[in-house]
């Protein structure tokens, strides 16, 4: 915006050009990078889903073979979880959190850039497996991971998965884990320490709160899968016997460690969307969030209780009546704070002046879809019911309602809501509404019939089914639904590309929102706040004198940190180590480790004033 062209311009002008994006440490640019990259991976993962659905569109179909099908559902799950939903949430963490708490950047701008580059390189590393077959002398071009996103032992042992497929998966996840952990430390510190004066914890917007809880889950859950993956790497590379029954080991160790991570991961995926919805609904209901404190506390409770439910993913292995009963009870209990939030959202809308913008529609869609997914989720809490449903399409229906109907819809609500803040232009409302209608129809058409096909006995992760099973019709509808979702996403992409150039110019606060990020220009200047504001209310823009004046022009020059090339170089060094592990080359590994060490030292001693 024009505010930089003044005598009080920042002492480092915002640079432009390709190199400036490679070396950027600006949380807003990194947020945009996260968002753009995540959307690309979202489309890749969606394309994989489309292929899966085309194969399942008719009984005994031969479009895709079993091997390719295994790769597709593995990469679809892994991509959507780690490369689409998580980084899309991270895009908002990056862009929005510092603005919501009145900060000029995150606590560690270079670490932030490192997280992004490690994420994008790790995602590419994993997806290269689709064309890396010839490098490994494989009979097929694609050697993509094929052990499911859960990678159960001993399916992943060298005995049953001799190719490099599982290695791509293990190493890729390890890289993405490091990226998430680094971001977690960064955002926890940012939220604890970088709040503007007066921005008490209980004045923070619900989105920042849910992001805060999410980061705590990330930094505690990811080390567990790190260890599980280390064991698997050792088993596959050095011949250890962590998951070998013959040597006295236990394949259930993997399941326990994986789900000990995996269930908190579910909340890593959904809490940010819950936060977005908690921010969006009040704006378009013209009412403060109903029971703000309860929303915050139930989010915290979900974060804590999420650690005590993991074995409900394992009822079918026969843990015994005591373990089954305990995990059944905790799983039913965790539905309580989630249900509380739903009532909070409904009560927020109750009696409000509702404005059905695209963002609001997606937020309402989130509530509806999440209720359906939540209800089928509670059904799984009962072990006898779960034994009928597990490994069938009923479970697929459940978590797609929660993660697509819930997570993705919530994230879309966030995109429509914050797009004008990020790019200074509004997304087209008619196209947004078309996007929502198509998405809503597509999600339900694709996933609701899966309840029936699942209860009729259609198993997950099997590339075809017999016409005698009586599920052909349901599957055909699911496939049509998936195509409609693809159409919806196409409408969205067109909307974004069109609105970036020709969208209506956004004012500071186009929606009449109460939160701090709307007190500054759209898009914000490189330094965010010309002066660090003093906050006096939870709804600073809805009350008189809720925030100190933020002039358009900084009264004193604002220091803006320059870029750094060390984050991307350090991330590249980590990738070299992963490639070495893939190629089983100690020499390359040592080279990569040395490169990382040199980069870390250069990073530590680089003059970088935040």
């Amino acid at each position: 915006m024009a505010t930089t062209a003044t005598p009080h311009a920042p002492d480092v002008a915002a640079p432009t050009g390709f190199w400036s994006w490679i070396t950027t440490t600006d949380h807003k640019r990194i947020g945009i990078l996260y968002g753009a990259t995540a959307l690309v991976f979202f489309i890749v993962g969606g394309f994989e889903a489309l292929l899966i659905r085309l194969q399942l569109g008719s009984a005994e179909n031969t479009l895709i073979g079993a091997e390719a099908f295994n790769q597709l559902f593995t990469m679809h799950g892994t991509t959507m979880v780690f490369l689409a939903i998580m980084p899309l949430s991270a895009a908002f963490f990056n862009y929005i959190i510092p603005l919501q708490i009145g900060a000029r950047d995150v606590a560690f701008p270079r670490l932030n850039a490192f997280s992004y580059w490690l994420f994008v390189l790790g995602g590419l590393f994993m997806n290269v497996s689709f064309v890396a077959g010839p490098l490994f002398g494989a009979h097929a071009i694609s050697v993509a991971p094929d052990g499911g996103w859960f990678g159960y032992a001993n399916l992943t042992s060298t005995q049953y998965s001799p190719g490099p497929n599982i290695d791509f998966w293990v190493l890729g996840l390890q890289i993405l884990g490091i990226a998430s952990l680094a971001a977690g430390f960064n955002f926890i510190t940012t939220i604890i320490n970088m709040r503007a004066p007066g921005m008490k914890l209980m004045r923070m917007p619900a989105f920042t709160w849910m992001a805060f809880v999410t980061q705590f889950i990330i930094v505690t859950a990811f080390p567990v899968i790190t260890v599980a993956l280390v064991f698997l790497t050792f088993d596959r590379t050095f011949g250890t016997t962590f998951y070998s029954v013959a040597a006295g080991g236990d394949v259930l160790l993997w399941q326990h460690l994986f789900w000990l991570f995996g269930h908190p991961e579910v909340y890593i995926l959904i809490l940010p969307a819950m936060g977005i919805v908690s921010d969006v609904l009040p704006v378009f209901s013209r009412k403060p969030l109903f029971g703000y404190a309860v929303v915050v506390y139930s989010g915290l409770l979900i974060g804590v209780m999420g650690w005590g439910v993991w074995a409900h993913h394992m009822f079918q292995v026969g843990l015994g009546p005591i373990a089954d009963s305990v995990f059944s009870a905790t799983t039913m209990l965790i539905a309580v704070p989630t249900g509380v939030k739903i009532f909070n959202w409904i009560a927020t809308m109750w009696g409000g002046q509702l404005r059905f913008t695209s963002a609001m529609l997606f937020a309402i869609g989130f509530i509806g879809m999440f209720i359906i997914g939540g209800l089928s989720g509670v059904m799984h809490a009962s072990p006898p019911a779960d034994l009928q449903q597990t490994d069938t399409y009923f479970v697929v229906a459940h978590f797609h309602y929660v993660l697509v109907g819930g997570g993705i819809m919530g994230l879309f609500a966030g995109i429509y809501y914050w797009f004008p803040k990020m790019f200074g232009r509004l997304l087209s409302e008619p196209l947004g509404k078309l996007h929502f209608v198509l998405m809503f129809i597509g999600v339900n058409l694709a996933h609701f019939p899966m309840h029936f096909s699942g209860l009729l006995g259609m198993p997950r992760r099997v590339y075809t089914y017999s016409a005698d099973l009586g599920v052909t019709g349901f599957n055909r509808v699911s496939t049509i639904g998936t195509m409609i979702i693809a159409l919806a996403v196409a409408v969205f992409v067109i909307n974004v590309l069109r609105s970036l150039r020709r969208g209506e110019i956004a004012s500071k606060n186009p929606w009449g929102s109460p939160k701090l990020e709307w007190a500054i220009s759209s898009p914000p200047p490189v330094y965010n706040f010309s002066v660090i504001p003093t906050v006096r209310s939870r709804l600073p823009l809805w009350v008189t004198d809720g925030v100190s004046e933020i002039p358009d022009v900084p009264p004193v020059p604002v220091h803006v940190p320059g870029g750094s090339m060390w984050p991307i170089l350090t991330a590249s060094g980590v990738i070299v180590i992963a490639v070495a592990a893939l190629a089983k080359s100690p020499l390359i590994a040592i080279g990569g480790a040395l490169a990382v060490a040199v980069c870390i030292f250069a990073w530590a001693f680089e003059p970088f004033e935040v």
Binding site: A107, L181, F185, T189, R195, P223, F234, I532, V610
Partner: protein, 202 residues
């Protein structure tokens, strides 16, 4: 390391790096927790020897444990010396901490070698896999700590470790003490409490 401690306003008054580092330590607890839990779950389940009581040398490891504990003391003294601007003792204690850390690594290298000689490798049995992975991860952390301490020592000789940069030493100290505490847990559960001797396992 380019700016002094407390140069910026923060909501809690604590330096960002300190808050982040405590978060990191919390995360590391889960990492070592998972490794230790796996060790305990698999204890006594090896189908072939050698395992715990046949091979673990408690007297020897007691010495290296004492060595590591003393290094924590030196770390405390190093931080105190840096904070009061005492360059000579800062260098002495930093050097001593790094030295004791290196000695610990030497003990570990000797122990690993001795075990391999006695027929226990990483892949020999479950005990070997869990033991070497757990203690190896810990040793790796000690090695990183030694490199960190040596870096601080070099900074001190360059005259770049004055009291205004004491926080750099404090954070290294947090790391060092954490690694030390982890070792106390490992020494206790792996060496001192050997719950299942071979007879019971059979």
């Amino acid at each position: 390391m380019s700016h002094a401690a407390g140069a910026h306003y923060t909501s809690t008054g604590l330096d960002n790096r300190k808050v982040a580092f405590w978060t990191f330590i919390g995360s590391e607890c889960l990492l070592f927790g998972s490794l230790i839990a796996t060790y305990l779950v698999y204890e006594g389940r090896s189908v072939s020897g050698p395992t715990t009581h046949e091979i673990l040398n408690i007297p020897l490891t007691s010495i290296s444990t004492f060595d590591l504990l003393m290094s924590s003391l030196c770390m405390v003294l190093a931080l105190a010396a840096v904070q009061r601007g005492d360059r000579v003792w800062a260098r002495a204690w930093l050097g001593m901490t790094a030295l004791l850390g290196t000695v610990f690594l030497g003990f570990q290298a000797y122990e690993f070698n001795a075990f391999v000689d006695e027929g226990l490798g990483l892949t020999t049995n479950l005990f070997g896999s869990t033991f070497f992975t757990l203690t190896g991860f810990h040793g790796g952390h000690v090695a990183v700590g030694v490199i960190w301490l040596v870096t601080l020592l070099i900074r001190s000789f360059q005259g770049k470790l004055e009291p205004d940069r004491a926080l750099n030493v404090e954070i290294a100290g947090l790391y060092w003490h954490f690694v030390d505490v982890v070792w106390i847990v490992i020494f206790t559960v792996v060496y001192l409490i050997q719950t299942t001797p071979i007879e019971a396992a059979i």
